[in-house]
Amino acid sequence: MVDHVGLLSAFGLIDAGYRQAVQVMEEGGLDGSTSDPDFLVATGSEELRADIPVLRHDGKLNPNGRHMAQQPIELILLKQWASYLALPVWLIDDSGNLLYYNEPAEALLGVRFEEAGEINADQLAEHFHTTRLDGKPYPNAELPIVVALVGRVPSHDTVRVRGLDGVWRILAITAFPVEGQGGRHLGAVAMFWETHDS
């Protein structure tokens, strides 16, 4: 069983996300505290630093303590790109939640995006069982999606996956991290090719 949330926490990703958000807010500001007094980096202000506990992992401000509804533009554009592709694509946020899967990917999941919507990391872990091609257990930390999310490097492998319909498939998976503007780690993209060679 793949436990993304546990795994991400174990790898320090979620904590690291918060640390990164705090660091982003503490850089620069309006006080000219950067080394070059003529050139400031604006990422926050004194008043807003008090709001650090309500920052999202990606460093987005949540000034009213409410859930910020909109995704970062990098993910919005990736979703639009994926919606035009004929190969299955997953879009995963930095906490391992499956934010979006395109129509070809619905066949792998056995459920339509319009019906199920986002799938959180816990549910993902329940829904998919992954092994090596010879049927041996696949170490969680080596799964391409986890490597892309946690290690922030691209990863590729061919694995056996049991989908929501109970069917075992052999899938080549390529995953890469989504690094946004300003050094924000926003998640990962995974692409799948079903293959019948084993």
């Binding site: 050139f39 980096v41 990422t43 909109q70 533009i73 503007q181 050094g183």
Partner: protein, 279 residues
Amino acid sequence: MKVTLWGTRGSLASGGPDTVQYGGDTAAVELRGPAGEFVVLDAGSGIRPIGEQTPSGTKRVDILLTHLHMDHIQGLGFFSPLFDPEIEVHVWGPGSTTLGLRERLTRYLSPPLFPVMLRDLPDVTLHEIRPPASFALGSLTVRAELITHPGPTMGYRIESPECVLAYLPDHEPALGVAEFPDVPDWTSGFELAHGVDVLIHDAQYTDDEYKSRVGWGHSTFDHALAFAALASVKQLVTFHHDPGHSDEMLDRAMAEMSESHDLEFELVPGRVGLTTCVD
């Protein structure tokens, strides 16, 4: 807070008898805050007359650039406060993934494109924004977020106690969306514009023009209306008018928009000299 449109045209300055009402100068919007804040949104050719009428005794001006396309920076070198040692000028804008704001601006503010070097200006401070970012300018709160437009481009949400303004002059939220508008989560610019009193938004194309300009970074009249409705704004001011759109054509388009849609917000044609957000 008082907001005045000085440059409303998109892409290219387009003076002449056909653009007198809506204006021929490119993007520049003056914003005066309740505590005397003097902010200019973008530095298109419309910024020159803002500089000309800057009151004596002015100590500070903040210029917020959405992005570095030519129609948004070409007036910068003609903004007289930049050459006045008594006035602090602060320029805010985005870097790219590989170049900082200074390097990007220097590409324009240096020979052969411009005779004066950025470093020769008396009192200019650059602030590179790494969106999403929030900061305060006096009593105003500014929020900057990336939005859909080629190259790193931001929209701004500026809040004073009395008025909330969203400024998204170059924005193509409909890009790649099968049925625009999508849900708010997946709509570029939604958070910036949500619930604002005044939205100044790209309305460059007719539906016909858009067909051959998908991906150029701009909206149709209908996209602007749909985006404003989705974001539940109170007033939409059309902006970034196409250089080929005459006053007559724009008046006709505005009238058609009002007649053919049951609008839940006020639709205001973005004519040069318009003032809004007046407390």
